[in-house]
């Protein structure tokens, strides 16, 4: 069982009332709302929180990539991972992930991840993503090539890590006369590759394929969707003739542990709702799903259903749906163990800071989680999985 701390590093000092006047919290929300002095304090606070996670016994800290938004201040997760790589001495550092199609030169991902893997002596978990739809507005990259570029960049990076260089590479989107990456990764044949996703059949098929067996992470979804997608992974594995290990399955989710159920809900509600409804949720379908980003079938279903990109949801409801978990230490531990028993994931990525959750509440949340929830999860995993 791996218990990881997941952080988005949101711009928690956003003037919410002013930002509410704009239709989106991504891409077009003017960056005058970002104050570098406050940003300086936030970056250092968040890095401290991630370093503290190691002291508290987390197995890894997780960083990720988002552009032009208050939702997360890591346009380059490489910078965050680098800043952590000399301070965190035992835990792993997971980049979940680098958005491959957005790179003009995906070899830079192979190089940067390999550098961090070397600096940390093999403590890098390398994640690859396509990036959510908004990133295609922010980067200009053509969303109709998103999947093709992802696949091609992935193949290129894995070959660059594993095949003796120099060799030449000519795909449809990327061309190199010399692929010869220095440094080579510390871990052999290469760092573990994890695939975070909101869940699509294509992605699950890709991750579960026996040639890859990549760990698949379901992010921020109601527990029903988590169960459905992780079960799909296991079915795909079975179809390929193998049984997937719990370590191949993961779930990233906001968690808040309070003294009591009532205190937990009271303390985190506003901050969770800011995360869900303001930082993440203020996004149109056009922004979330540019043409070509999804399969044609899902695009048609979305047009026909006239669904919103993200329905507003309050914390109580989110807790009921298993989109987040909050409560007393016992409630949270019971619930997460229950989910784990039903679904069989071996990686839990707990997001213990979300939205506007301030520093003191974040620390107490991390401490309670580490003190009460973590040991019970580990014990339950030992009984369930034998490890």
């Amino acid at each position: 069982m791996n218990i990881l701390l997941f952080h988005l590093m949101p711009y928690a000092d956003l003037d919410l009332r002013e930002a509410d006047k704009y239709p989106h919290s991504w891409v077009t929300l003017p960056n005058r709302f970002y104050d570098p002095k406050k940003g300086h304090a936030l970056y250092n606070r968040y890095l401290d929180e991630m370093e503290y996670a190691e002291d508290l016994g987390f197995d890894a800290v997780c960083v990720n990539e988002h552009h032009q938004t208050a939702y997360g201040l890591m346009p380059s997760p490489i910078v965050t991972a680098s800043a952590l790589s000399r301070r965190i001495k035992r835990a792993k550092i997971a980049i979940l992930g680098s958005a491959l199609p957005l790179r003009a030169n995906p070899l830079t991902v192979a190089e940067e991840h390999a550098m961090i893997d070397n600096i940390t002596g093999g403590r890098l978990i390398s994640g690859f993503v396509r990036g959510i739809g908004c990133e295609y507005h922010a980067s200009g990259v053509n969303p109709t090539y998103s999947l093709a570029r992802f696949n091609e960049a992935h193949d290129l990076i894995v070959r660059a890590w594993t095949e003796p260089g120099p060799f030449e590479f000519h795909g449809k989107h990327y061309h190199f006369e010399y692929v010869n990456v220095w440094p080579r990764p510390y871990q052999q044949p290469h760092p573990p590759i994890w695939i975070p996703s909101q869940g699509s059949r294509e992605t699950i098929e890709f991750a579960a394929h026996p040639a890859r067996k990549y760990t698949y992470l379901q992010t921020f979804s109601p527990i029903k969707a988590v169960a459905k997608n992780l079960l799909m992974y296991r079915d795909v594995a079975k179809r390929h003739g193998y049984t997937s290990a719990p370590s191949q399955l993961g779930w990233a989710t906001p968690v808040y542990v309070g003294e009591t159920d009532e205190a937990a809900l009271a303390e985190c509600s506003e901050h969770y709702e800011n995360f869900r409804n303001r930082f993440l949720g203020k996004m149109s379908l056009e922004m979330l799903m540019p043409p070509g980003y999804t399969s044609r079938e899902s695009a048609r279903a979305i047009v026909a259903a006239k669904t919103a990109a993200h329905e507003k949801v309050d914390t109580r409801r989110a807790d009921e749906l298993g989109m987040m978990t909050c409560g007393s230490p016992r409630t949270v531990a019971d619930r997460l163990i229950d989910y784990m028993t039903q679904i069989g994931f071996g990686n839990l990525l707990a997001m213990l800071q979300f939205g506007t959750l301030p520093a003191d509440l974040t620390r107490r949340n991390m401490e309670r989680f580490a003190e009460y929830v973590m040991p019970r999860l580990r014990q339950a995993a030992k009984e369930l999985y034998g490890s």
């Binding site: 200009g140 969303p143 109709t144 043409p291 695009a299 047009v303």
Partner: protein
Amino acid sequence: MAFCEEICNIRGSRITLKRGGSGRKLLFLHGANGASGVRPFMEDLARDFDVLVPEHPGFGGSDEPEWLDNIHDVAYFYLDFLEQLNLRDVFLVGASLGGWLALEIAIRDASRLSRLSAVGPLGIHVPGIKRGDMFLWSPEERVRNLFHDQKLADRMLAQPPTAEQIEIEVKNSYTVARLAWEPRMFDPHLAKWLHRIKVPTQIIWGDSDRILPAAYAAEFARLIPGARVDIVGQCGHTPHNEKPQEFARLLREFCR
């Protein structure tokens, strides 16, 4: 005037072609919204012309060929199309994305063209002139921003699309993104070669176009030697749909 529809197979890629009327050949290249129906302007023009309205590869009922990557591919496809149908002295008319396509065709090979009319064409970028971003607009905004006369938008919005229309809309939008997402609705290399267009050229623009403002017309006129500019009053991005009679009149006047 009746239009009939046939399938043309151009070197293995099938497209639909609506054809009606008689007279000089007029090839109309549609814009981002495709050409699934017969529009009043087509009927009008068919009184004087042999009107050909194909659906581009990747649109409507046409195939989505593997080779379809950019606007240049579509331009070369239409050069094949003109050759295969052995069309000569063609009056090439293109609207919006189709206007851009018409210009890409004409800079490559205008030998089968007699004249060219581009209606609110995409294809170039003029610094300092604010364009609309149709990829960020909601479905309602996309309709509203097409028209000057909001009554036309109201009428369009009052009819919910059928499942078949949704399928075509999604297909079209994927192809538009493939061709025009980046750079956004233009080809940085087109402006360099527009001077090569030697056939008589007309630029038509709606004066209240919210996708590409009419100020673009002057830039095209500067880049294409001798181009004539006609601005349509109280009209949005699609003069052929919003002001079909005036549109047809301007084409006839240009041909005189």
